[in-house]
């Protein structure tokens, strides 16, 4: 059995650009004794990925490492390249984000597993037949059918690719498995399956697990110990329960607080953040009876290669004044299509009825354009939603110009930016997106929508691509917009916690249908439909190894 330890590790990227050398990791010491599980949490840029890459000496040439990385007591720096290669995968293997591009797209996945075996042909798998049998054995251990061995990565779903990555990591019976965001981009239900599967396999074999993630809840669900990193430094380290439930450091508190505890009354309609948006009205708006946007029997079909597929089937929805409605579902449930059809961006089946303020949705281009002033949509990724070459002012003013609103342009833009709490607005007008942080970009996008004075905002995963600490800020902004302006919002999300944080009502979607729809408190506290229950159960909770114990 092998221990992995980082001793005063600092990693610096040499850079020829004017930014100079960049310190990615500063003086980090961590221990992973044999058989232990350790999670490293941190937001993007915290240096966590850089740190684990040093465990197998996989850093790029431009990186300089100070301190020592010890694997089984041996300093990795002292090994020559051949020895390093022997260590890789045989002693420590890595599970990358399989859902992305960690598998070679043009080779069969079975062959990619066998390749690991051929390179570390221990005495056990000496012949091609034995290696093939081992590969099939691994596939069955990760609950994949043998037939998947001849599949190419693009033929597998994200969860299946992640299983292949795990099978590959287990192939040579390593002592340590390093998992790099193993469930990012997977749905909650799949995430739960992958995590519990990984945790069980590791526990059975006594393999030690080092896992990194931006998601504290995911880590605490699997790992016994947790380390929190920020700006390359270790902020807090300790047993999962301690770190999550009784955090010492301010930053950890903020991270832990960002995870909504569904059912916790304190976070209901109150996203936790250090910078809550201001409610300026003495009597904030609350959800009214007046229906603003309504869909009856809404169905959408697509022509695909295997014929017509129905993405949305017979959905009934009503959005009231000053209501926040969360539509929750896994990817592929048709929720984005639903949002696009409510906006008139998507062709719907003829018998679907869509109405805005009591009138059917216009069909003609010109009338549709006017309608778009009333209903605005905010897309998933704020960085992608802004043209990198255009300033904040240009981004916000775009809607006004497109809509032909010429008067009081400057006031409208500044007003919208301030409503989106990007203050003082004048300071940001000429910034370009790359000078702004993720949260600020999202505020600019929201301001762009607000400039048109809409009555309804439709937001597609508005916080999914933001760091946890920014999440609360943006969510509280949505609440403030509702309270201050009486705006209605329909928020598309995969995150039940978001619904708990800000929504009045929630609709749960599965395969294009709404399976449960109602008041948030009722639905989330007492779910009726089996699917809602399954979703709720899959949400990782802060606290020690909940997923492992569930098994």
């Amino acid at each position: 059995m092998t221990d992995l330890s980082f001793e005063n590790v600092s990693i610096t990227y040499r850079s020829s650009s004017d930014r100079g050398d960049v310190v990615a990791v500063k003086d980090v010491s961590l221990d992973l004794p044999a058989g232990a599980t350790l999670g490293i949490a941190g937001e993007s840029g915290s240096g966590k990925s850089t740190l684990i890459m040093s465990a197998l000496r996989l850093l790029p040439k431009s990186a300089r490492l100070d301190g020592r990385v010890l694997l089984g007591g041996k300093d990795l720096q002292d090994l020559n390249f051949g020895q390093i290669r022997a260590v890789r995968w045989a002693q420590a293997s890595i599970v990358f984000q399989g859902a992305l591009h960690s598998l070679n797209p043009v080779r069969e996945v079975g062959g990619q597993i066998i390749e690991a075996l051929t390179h570390h042909a221990k005495d056990t798998w000496t012949t091609p037949e034995k290696r093939r049998d081992r590969m099939f054995e691994l596939l069955s251990e990760v609950d994949l059918d043998r037939s998947k061995a001849i599949a190419y990565p693009h033929e597998l779903s994200g969860g299946q690719k992640q299983r292949i990555m795990i099978a590959m990591a287990l192939a040579c019976e390593p002592d340590i498995i390093i998992a790099d965001e193993p469930t990012t981009a997977l749905d909650v239900i799949v995430q739960k399956q992958i995590l519990s599967g990984l945790a069980a396999l590791v526990a059975e074999r006594g393999i030690s697990l080092l896992m990194i993630s931006h998601d504290l809840a995911v880590l605490s669900a699997v790992c016994a110990n947790l380390a929190i990193m920020r700006h390359g430094k270790l902020v807090e380290y300790g047993p999962s329960d301690e770190v999550c439930l009784r955090p010492q450091e301010e930053y950890t508190k903020q991270l832990a607080g960002a995870f909504p505890q569904i059912g916790d009354p304190e976070s209901r309609l109150n996203p936790r953040t250090l910078k809550p948006a201001e409610v300026t009205r003495a009597q904030p708006y609350t959800m009214g009876d007046e229906v603003v946007l309504e869909a009856k029997d809404l169905s959408v079909s697509f022509d695909t290669r295997h014929g017509r597929e129905r993405a949305v089937r017979g959905v009934d929805l009503a959005l009231h004044k000053a209501e926040i409605l969360a539509v929750v579902g896994q990817s592929g449930s048709g929720k984005t299509t639903l949002a696009r059809s409510l906006l008139g961006l998507q062709e719907v089946e003829p018998d679907s009825q869509l109405s805005f303020a009591g009138k059917p949705l216009p069909k003609k281009a010109k009338a549709l354009r006017t309608f778009r002033r009333q209903v605005q949509m905010i897309l998933q990724d704020p960085s992608g939603s802004l043209n990198p070459k255009r300033s904040v002012y240009e981004a916000v003013v775009e809607g006004l110009r497109v809509q032909g609103i010429r008067d009081r342009e400057y006031e409208r833009v500044v007003g919208a930016l301030e409503a989106a709490e990007l203050t003082p607005a004048a300071d940001y007008l000429e910034s370009i997106p790359q000078e702004l942080s993720g949260g600020q970009r999202q505020r600019v996008v929201i301001a762009g929508a607000l400039a048109l004075d809409p009555q309804v905002l439709i937001a597609d995963e508005p916080v999914a691509s933001l760091d946890a600490s920014v999440r609360g800020e943006i969510l509280s902004l949505f609440l403030a917009l509702k309270k201050n302006l009486g705006m209605s919002a329909l928020i598309i999300t995969h995150d039940l916690g978001l619904a708990w944080n800000i929504a009045d009502t929630v609709a749960v979607m599965k395969k294009g249908e709404i399976v449960e729809y109602g008041d948030v408190d009722t639905v989330l506290k007492d779910p009726q439909h089996a699917y809602t229950q399954e979703l709720l159960a899959a949400v990782p909770r802060l606290g020690s190894q909940s997923l492992v114990r569930n098994e």
């Binding site: 310190v23 549709l368 300033s391 497109v402 809509q403 000078e435």
Partner: protein, 333 residues
């Protein structure tokens, strides 16, 4: 796995004019003074100036590109001042009767003379005018066509997009030289014909680059956002797509000039050029007509070719440097 970039996005806070407003009313109804003074224009200017300085520094640090730029400048200058250095009469065969034919390079005849006793250096000088002019003019033509076709092919879907696509594909598949031969052999001989023949047939590679860039920009969320704001084709094409392909097109222009100069010389060599005008291709054709290559008149073959090589290489070096400057900007999105 790309390493995490450790630098947190630093919120740039350029200080603009205009005092911070206290009101958070998005209707903007609070009176902030009638004529808003947005000093943003100045900031934008500064940003552009800084960018230009940075790019110039990058360009200067690229030695081959600087050499290329100097070579280009040299050839452009000699092309412009050719009539001053060497009067056109020096090309008149009837006035060269006392000059030896096929004189090898010497002090008296620096680049040698041709079969009619004309000085090679004079011919090269005058040839630069037509060769560079044709190269640049044909490139401009092909860039304009290529950009329009590429944008249309990338942006429009449905029947119209499909038709554009087929046309682009046709021109991509068929080598432009073949089409240019056909065009210039049926049109009247002349410099203009050569320009048209090259320009009309060589835009496909530009269209292809533009199409691929358009498709990639088209799939970005800010285009979707513009649609949500109610934007039509015109807005998306001219406000988002065109600005995003222009840098690529400009870098490609420099690269394409080289190709166009080679195409000009090839057409002239095949006898499709304007025989009354000096161009490097025409000189090479003349040398071929008198079998200079096999008869030992090496200077007759070598000099125009080296001129072409230098100019094309120079354009290519400059173009590559421009591309390298533009590319990180394209990728950092």
């Amino acid at each position: 796995m790309p390493a995490n970039t450790p630098a947190e996005a630093a919120p740039g806070k350029p200080s603009g004019a205009g005092s911070p407003s206290n009101g958070s009313d998005p209707r903007g109804s609070d009176p902030r003074g009638s004529a808003p003074v947005v000093d943003g224009a100045k900031l934008v200017r500064e940003r552009r100036l800084n960018n230009a300085k940075k790019n110039w520094a990058l360009f200067r640090s690229d030695i081959p590109a600087m050499v290329g730029a100097v070579v280009l400048l040299f050839f452009i200058v000699i092309a412009v001042v050719a009539p001053l250095i060497a009067p056109e009469s020096m090309l008149d065969v009837t006035k060269q009767l006392d000059v030896p034919r096929y004189a090898p390079p010497s002090l008296e005849h620096p680049l040698g003379t041709d079969d009619l006793g004309r000085e090679m250096w004079v011919r090269i000088l005058w040839g630069a005018r037509v060769s560079i002019l044709v190269g640049v003019a044909a490139t401009v033509m092909s860039m304009v066509i290529g950009t329009i076709m590429g944008l249309a092919a990338g942006h429009f879907t449905g029947l119209f997009g499909g038709i554009i696509m087929r046309i682009v594909d046709f021109f991509i598949v068929l080598p432009s030289l073949l089409l240019a031969i056909v065009l210039s052999s049926v049109l009247e001989r002349g410099v203009f014909t050569i320009v048209v023949a090259i320009g009309l047939t060589s835009w496909a590679s530009t269209a292809r680059i533009v199409r691929s860039q358009t498709l990639s920009v088209e799939s970005r969320l800010y285009i979707e956002r513009a649609r949500i704001l109610g934007a039509g084709h015109r807005h998306i094409l001219f406000r988002h797509l065109l600005p995003s392909v222009m840098p690529l097109v400009l870098a490609n222009t420099t690269l394409t000039v080289g190709g166009a100069i080679i195409a000009e010389s090839t057409l002239s060599f095949l006898g499709l050029g304007d025989t009354s005008k000096e161009s490097w291709g025409t000189i090479l054709k003349n040398s071929m007509d008198v079998s200079a290559a096999t008869s030992g008149y090496w200077w007759y073959v070598l000099t125009p070719g080296i001129a072409i090589l230098l100019v094309v290489l120079a354009f290519t070096m400059v173009g590559r440097a421009l591309e390298a400057i533009i590319n990180p900007a394209l990728r950092s999105r």
